[in-house]
Each structure stands twice: as structure tokens, then as C-alpha cells.
């Protein structure tokens, strides 16, 4: 029993919060402010628990695998949720169903924890569904916004299709290998057409979750329509979890196909970066813009994944950490702007600097980091991804990736420029509440220090 608790401490913690919330809901309930503070506190505990005392072990007949790296990855995800709970606190405070929102969100988080710990296809499938169905429901939580329900519909429909196709792939894998265990499948997969077809079907689900082109089309619509915290959750937490899982599965299960999936990853990476960038250039809605920018980022993550070695794992984990900070800084500011000033379009960012230097800086730093501009951590993140990718010696691919970095710089800088341009007319200054400031502060500190302090990277390296 103790072993279960020890290895599943993050999951147990999340489960505990969910139950606490349900019990509170069963009783009289609490005012939103108090409830939010409680949740934030508990989430902070989860973060601490997840990062600390990690050990290696398998439970449930080997279906659940925990090790130090996975522990660290769970920590990143928990941290991301904690930051979301801070930076989006305006929205949380105003929502009618705060407890439900968190129950759903934490269920999804639980699913993700299980997902990256999964060592069995059944476990994998269950946790993947657990991590996606609640999010679809969450997307609908701006109950009176037409766009919100449209987003939820698009998400659930697409993800149902995706999981159907993935399941078809899983069934083929099962049929071909006779096992659902990662370790056993590993030896059985061959470079034969039917194997590869199964792999592609299976891989499509990852591609869908990660919004890899051409499986990305739901992303922008959902990001735009869903409530900002959900979007932030989708873009940071969900993406991170799926990336971890994908790196894990590709390396563990499909190592025999590595020559094939290298080509696949490289091709998809190029297309994803290109399409994401090209769409991002012409967006004028902030959230849609961030959606496409995160698609382009996914393309970049794939560059690292293509490295197919330990360094690729380290680089992607590191990048996700950086990406959480950068992306949540951007989403956090977007959330504040939406709730305080009703700003949704990029043009309206004009004069943001005069309205609130803090928000302006947080957003700019986030965008710089996303663009990969030093000394922001994103620079290091991207560089390590490129290094991981370059170890294969495919420099044309690396060249294309850097070219895409330039294109992305164009639209990130466009936004930054608007932030610092003076507004046409006088606008009221914006107040930033304390939790938001704290959350953004964490992001800023993360952006600045994750990069230049090489200790973090070395720590991740030591975990592999």
C-alpha cells in the first residue's frame, strides 16, 4: 500500500483535491474566493509533492510506471495548473461553477499523470480519454457564449473521431503482437506495411492532441471559443503531457520503426512549423494567434523529438518546462486583458505599456521566450531542441527549422511592437490583482532563470 502511495503520490494528491472539492460541493459550498484560495494552496502542495521524493517503480502489474523523470514531468504539469489557477483567477472568481471547473480540470490532470506513467496500451487509452473528455466539457463552461459551445462541440467531435481511429490502430497492434504491454510490443513491431499502418493510426492520436498539421484544425477554433483558463490548460498542460507520452511511446514501443518514424516526424515537423507560422502571421485575435503560435511550437518540439536519443528526451522535457512559463505568461496576460478590458484583438494591445507596464513586460517576455530570443529561456529551449535534432546530421531540416524561427519572430515582434506603441486615445490603466501578479511573476522568473541557470537542464539530464 505504501508503495502505491509513494509512487502515485501526485495522482493521489490530485484525487484528494477532487474529493475535497466534491465534498465541499456536497455541503453548503464555499464562496468562490475562499474556494479558489484553498485550491491554489492544495495545488501548490501537489507541485511540491510531485517534484520531491521521486523513485522508480512499477505497480498494477507493470501498467503504471513511475521514475524520476516522469516525476519531474508530473511536477511540470502540476506547476502549470497551479500557475493557471493563479493567472486566470479573475475568470475563476467570476464563474458560477468553480468547484466543477476544478473537478473537471483536475480529472484531466489526473488523466495526464496516468498518461505519462502508462506502460500499457489499455492504461494509455483510458488515461488519454480521461485527460480529454473533461476538457471538452470544460470548453463549454462559458455557458452563455455561443462560441464556447461551438468550441466544445468541435473538440468533442474531433477527439471522438481521433480516439476512434487511434483505437483502430491499437486493435491492429494488439492483433499483430498479441500484447498490450509496451515492453512486449517493442519486440514485436516490424517494418512491415500493416505494422506501419497500425503505427500511423496510433500516432494520429498524438498528432491530434499535439495539433500537428494536418490534424490541428480544431485547435484554433477551440482556443478561441473556450474559456481562457481552458485554453491555457489545453495549450500548456495538455500539450506537455502528450509530448511526454509521445516521446516515451515512440522511444519505447516503436523503437524498431525508428527509421520510419524519423521521416514521419521530420516531415510533420516541417509542415507544422510552416503552416502554423503562416496562419499565425495573419491572425488578429489574440487567442487564435496564440493557438497558431503554439502549433508552430509543436513543430519545433518535433525537431527535438526527431533526435531519437536521451538528449531528445531531455531537450523536450526542458522545452516543455520553458514553454509552460512562456505560454502561460502570454495566456495569463490575455486572460487579464479579456476579463478586465474586454480585449480580444491584437490591435487593441496598442498602448498596453501605458496601461500596465507589468502586463506589457510579462506578455513581451513570454512572446520573446516563445520566439526564442535570448536571454529568455525559450532561446535555450529551442537551441537544445535544435541540437537534439541536429545530432542526426540532417542540417537541411535544421536549416528549415531556423528559417521558421525567423518567420515566427516576425509575428511575435509585431505584437511586441504594438504593446509598446502609444495608444491613439487615452485609455484607462489596468489593475492587476495580486494572485495574477504572483502567477505572472513565477512565469517571468521562470523565463529569465530557467535558461541562464544551467542547473535545471543538468538536473533533467541527470534524471534520464
Amino acid at each position: 500500500m505504501f508503495e502505491y502511495l509513494h509512487l502515485m503520490k501526485s495522482e493521489a494528491m490530485v484525487l484528494l483535491i477532487i474529493f475535497i472539492l466534491l465534498f465541499i460541493k456536497l455541503g453548503k459550498g464555499l464562496p468562490n474566493d475562499t474556494l479558489l484560495s484553498v485550491v491554489q494552496l492544495l495545488l501548490l502542495c501537489t507541485v511540491v509533492v510531485s517534484f520531491g521524493f521521486n523513485d522508480t517503480g512499477r505497480i498494477f502489474n507493470g501498467m503504471f510506471l513511475h521514475n524520476t523523470l516522469v516525476g519531474f514531468q508530473k511536477g511540470i504539469l502540476a506547476l502549470a495548473v497551479y500557475i493557471i489557477s493563479l493567472v486566470c483567477s479573475n475568470w475563476f472568481r467570476q464563474t458560477e461553477h468553480l468547484a466543477e471547473v476544478f473537478v473537471l480540470m483536475l480529472s484531466a490532470l489526473l488523466g495526464m499523470f496516468l498518461l505519462i506513467s502508462a506502460d500499457n496500451l489499455l492504461m494509455f487509452y483510458l488515461s488519454l480519454e480521461l485527460s480529454s473528455i473533461p476538457v471538452a466539457a470544460l470548453a463549454n463552461f462559458d455557458l452563455n457564449r455561443r462560441k464556447s459551445s461551438e468550441a466544445a462541440m468541435k473538440m468533442i467531435m474531433n477527439s471522438a473521431l481521433a480516439s476512434g481511429i487511434m483505437l483502430f490502430g491499437i486493435s491492429l497492434i494488439y492483433g499483430l503482437t498479441g500484447s498490450l504491454d509496451f515492453a512486449q510490443i517493442w519486440g514485436q513491431v516490424k517494418t512491415e506495411p500493416i505494422h506501419m499502418m497500425a503505427f500511423v493510426f496510433f500516432f494520429a492520436a498524438f498528432a491530434f492532441k499535439l495539433s500537428v498539421v494536418p490534424f490541428h484544425l480544431w485547435t484554433a477554433d477551440v482556443y478561441e471559443g473556450a474559456p481562457v483558463p481552458v485554453t491555457a490548460f489545453l495549450s500548456a498542460v495538455s500539450k506537455g503531457a502528450v509530448t511526454f507520452a509521445m516521446v516515451n511511446v515512440l522511444a519505447k514501443v516503436f523503437a524498431n520503426l525508428s527509421g520510419s518514424w524519423y521521416v514521419l516526424v521530420v516531415g510533420l515537423s516541417v509542415v507544422t512549423m510552416l503552416v502554423g507560422n503562416l496562419f499565425a502571421i495573419r491572425q488578429d485575435n489574440i487567442l487564435r494567434f496564440l493557438a497558431f503560435s503554439s502549433i508552430a511550437q509543436v513543430g519545433f518540439i518535433l525537431v527535438g523529438v526527431s533526435g531519437q536519443n536521451d538528449q531528445a528526451t531531455v531537450a523536450t522535457t526542458y522545452f516543455i518546462l520553458v514553454y509552460v512559463f512562456s505560454n502561460l505568461a502570454a495566456f495569463g496576460v490575455a486572460a487579464v486583458l479579456l476579463s478586465e478590458a474586454g480585449i480580444t484583438r491584437i490591435e487593441q494591445l496598442k498602448g498596453l505599456y501605458t496601461r500596465s507596464p507589468f502586463l506589457a513586460w510579462a506578455l513581451s517576455l513570454g512572446l520573446f521566450s516563445l520566439a526564442g530570443v535570448p536571454p529568455a529561456a525559450g532561446f535555450f529551449g529551442k537551441m537544445f531542441l535544435l541540437m537534439a535534432g541536429a545530432s542526426k546530421g540532417n542540417y537541411v531540416f535544421i536549416g528549415i527549422a531556423t528559417l521558421n524561427m525567423i518567420i515566427s519572430l516576425y509575428y511575435y515582434l509585431r505584437v511586441v511592437r504594438l504593446i509598446f506603441t502609444s495608444a491613439d486615445k487615452d485609455v484607462a490603466s489596468l489593475q492587476v490583482s495580486r494572485p495574477v501578479m504572483f502567477g505572472l511573476g513565477i512565469c517571468i522568473a521562470g523565463i529569465i532563470f530557467t535558461g541562464v541557470i544551467s542547473w535545471i537542464y543538468d538536473h533533467i539530464q541527470s534524471l534520464v
Binding site: I133, A137, L167, Y174, G175
Partner: protein, 105 residues
Amino acid sequence: MNVEPGLFHFLVIGAVLFFIGIYGFLTRRNLITMLMSVELILNSVNINFIAFNKYLWPGTLDGSFFTVFIIAIAAAEAAVAIAIIINLFRSHQSINVEVAEEMKY
């Protein structure tokens, strides 16, 4: 015409079901029908699993268990989806998929 049903037949049925489901998903305009098409896809997977379990790997019950879980999850998914569709109906007064195309480009 007394053919013993074998793995091949089940797989064909599974594949046919799968493509019918996909066809339905892509062509039906009614969201509920689309959802039903998704169920078809899931069922085709179920057939696959069962067939594989029975004919190829009868030693363990992995496939059968998987099927059970898929059925359960499909129910959950359908529940959420229908809730979302209901909400969509409230805001759009229709469950036609074409009414929800506001966000694009």
C-alpha cells in the same frame, strides 16, 4: 453456403463498420447522427479486439477487457457529447453541424 466464420470475416466486418462510421461522421449533418457514427467506429474496434482475442491470442483476455473499457468510455464520451450538443442547441436553436461555423480562418 455453410461457411465457418473466421478471423477474416470479422475483420472485414470491422473494417466495413469502421468506414461506414467514418463516412457517416463526414457526411451527416445532424450532430447526434455524427455521434452515432463515432459509436460505429468504436464498435468496429470492439469487433476487431474480440476477433483478435478469440482467433489469434486466445491465451489471455486482453482484447475482451479492452472492449469492455471501450464500451464504458464510449458511454462517458457520449454523455459529455450529448450534454455539449444540448448546450449547443440552447444557444444555436439547432443541432445541425453547419450552424456552428462561426470561428474560422
